[in-house]
Symmetry: C2
């Protein structure tokens, strides 16, 4: 193992580049740290690696392993015999740059000041995140992934990866995402950002504790609101016919979820990561405009969730159309459920099929029909 990588007691790895990392906006991080976890064994010809890109609010712990038996955020999808089969693939999940679960971010030490970055951590982009991961991949001497897979914000990384490093992957899976920031999403995130910043306890990001920030909790509640379809809210609460009881339950549910989240997530990271989505437009950062999609050589699967009010079905259709226009070999699956944006995180059975079938598929196999 590279001497730049340390093995931690919880089974995660910590990569420190020891070199300056230059961001798209021209600012520098004096060094780069990325925390990651792996499952399965890399085969002798290094051809069975799968890169999983996590979404906004989680980290590298995608599924459990012997040193950390806690269930991961994609516990039912990744593991031996599961859709992303760790008895076949060597799976790696890297905590995104800018996040708060070990990788360089607002909770890191700013070596120039000797203090934590907090509100001074520079704004990063989706491109910065993938560029940081490429450095780690080179260090691990993985030239080509069998697959790169992401959902939501994670799939923005996957898409950017496939355009930036087209020879480094065979298959690409993009779930509930978009190739650029859409106005309604920018509007929604701007409201969340204002909720955080208008809170007097925010103090320009130099707050004591994220868990004590009412504005951050409010932002998370608005996030939660958009992750669910109204049918899902109905399923959860419509049995109460009494308006007062229903309202109290709904408020308590949001409060519980916001408390849980703000106890573990950092508000500065939340601002930086959500804003990186505002800045994302894969056709803008790659100079050929929409022609950038033609760079993709990977066989691609796009999964759209019909009840998603955040990354709407239209956004998936736009993505699919752009991929087809770029000549990409692309499969398009429309998933139908009541779970909204979060469907890929909660509905393991259908997503096991979509992902498993696509990973197993060989050239010439017929398209599966899920309807």
């Amino acid at each position: 193992m590279s001497d730049k990588v340390k093995h931690c007691s919880d089974g995660s790895f910590c990569f420190s580049s020891g070199q300056e990392f230059t961001l798209e906006n021209g600012r520098h991080l004096r060094s780069l740290t990325l925390v990651y976890e792996t499952w399965g064994e890399l085969d002798s010809d290094r051809s069975n690696a799968v890169l999983v890109h996590h979404a906004l609010s989680v980290g590298s712990h995608a599924t459990s392993h012997s040193k950390n038996p806690e269930p991961g955020w994609w516990q039912d999808i990744i593991g031996p015999g599961k859709a992303i089969d760790t008895s076949i693939y060597f799976v790696i999940c890297i905590n995104n740059l800018g996040s708060c679960f070990g990788s360089s971010g607002p909770l890191s030490l700013n070596e120039e000041t000797g203090e934590l970055y907090k509100g001074d951590f520079p704004q990063i982009t989706i491109g910065d995140m993938t560029a940081s991961q490429k450095i780690l991949m080179d260090e691990l001497e993985i030239d080509k992934f069998y697959a790169v897979i992401g959902g939501s914000m994670g799939a923005m990384l996957s898409l950017n990866w496939a355009i930036e490093y087209p020879d480094s992957l065979t298959k690409l899976i993009l779930i509930s995402t978009a190739y650029k920031a859409y106005p309604a999403n920018v509007a929604n995130r701007a409201i969340q950002h204002q909720a955080i910043r208008m809170d007097p306890q925010w103090q320009q990001g130099n707050y004591e504790s994220s868990a004590e920030l009412p504005g951050f909790k409010l932002a998370r509640k608005l996030g939660l609101y958009t992750y669910r379809n109204s049918s899902e809210w109905n399923r959860r609460f419509n049995s109460h016919n009494n308006a007062d009881v229903k309202e109290i339950d709904i408020i308590q549910y949001m409060e519980y979820n916001a408390d849980k989240f703000c106890n573990v997530f950092d508000a500065n990271s939340y601002l930086i990561l959500t804003h990186s989505m505002d800045l994302f437009n894969v056709t803008e950062t790659h100079e050929s405009g929409k022609g950038c999609f033609s760079k993709i050589t990977a066989r691609t699967l796009v999964v759209s969730e019909e009840s998603d009010i955040l990354f709407t079905p239209q956004q998936q259709e736009d993505l699919h159309a752009a991929l087809l226009e770029g000549g990409v070999n692309c499969r398009f699956v429309v998933h139908r459920s009541q779970y909204g944006h979060d469907a890929f995180l909660v509905e393991s059975e259908p997503f096991t099929k979509y992902i498993g079938d696509f990973l197993n598929a060989r050239d010439g196999d017929p398209e599966p029909d899920y309807i």
Copy 2:
């Protein structure tokens, strides 16, 4: 004209009951004031009156008239030769109880303290609003409306009216509404309420000026976000391919709208009126449960907006189903556009057809086909 009604210089009327008004929650208003406007002439047999119920954020000025030429909130729908034809009908629109445009509400004088109510105005219900209007109707000696019409929150009043006073109307038009509060809407409004209340300048409702409340502006931005479909946001902003420009424009657009709104609307009224929707369940307040719909004798039109993410198409379908189950003679129109919840306020041409056709229709006329 009744001596309880004063004619104001802007052409509106001000009704003061001079009597105590008891609310559903048992609290009392020492007297009741309602501001209203009328258009057209009441015919000799008093049979051509149309009651228009306004939505959350507007008032009695539904359309212009000689004493107030300012365009009203339904300018293109109400007027001579328009869908609600003021050369045929005597149209009345009453500022809702609890609102801030003249009727009893947080900006009224609390006769018990000699000061404005502000944050002490009691929480009212949709039922309180219709009950207050019934007192005015009796004063004006209008026994039966040709039609009662409302959109959004206004249609909650219209629906409640039709169940509470079934003999007082011939036709009922319900646009983009629901017969009860749905969990996703309650959640969304709870976030807005918290945004207002977490603002230190809020001061338990005893703020100096609504226009200076960042929390109230934030709440309005979230409201605005839900009134538009994402396609509408696309239409407005997607021409900017540069992410920074797009974001600045979107934020300015929300800022402009929130400023405009908070300059004229009162934050306490906003809390009370939005919360009255949380408390609304027409099957709960009428003891027969869903059987309450069978009380409706009016011919009814329900208009659903397919792109509405607030009062979703499912909510209109539920309403339509409940009306049919109650044996109501009901026409159901699904409007398709990109305008979301606000469609009935901005798309005058199709809504002129839906409303005009229904008002003109006689028993036995064939159902129009708008597809």
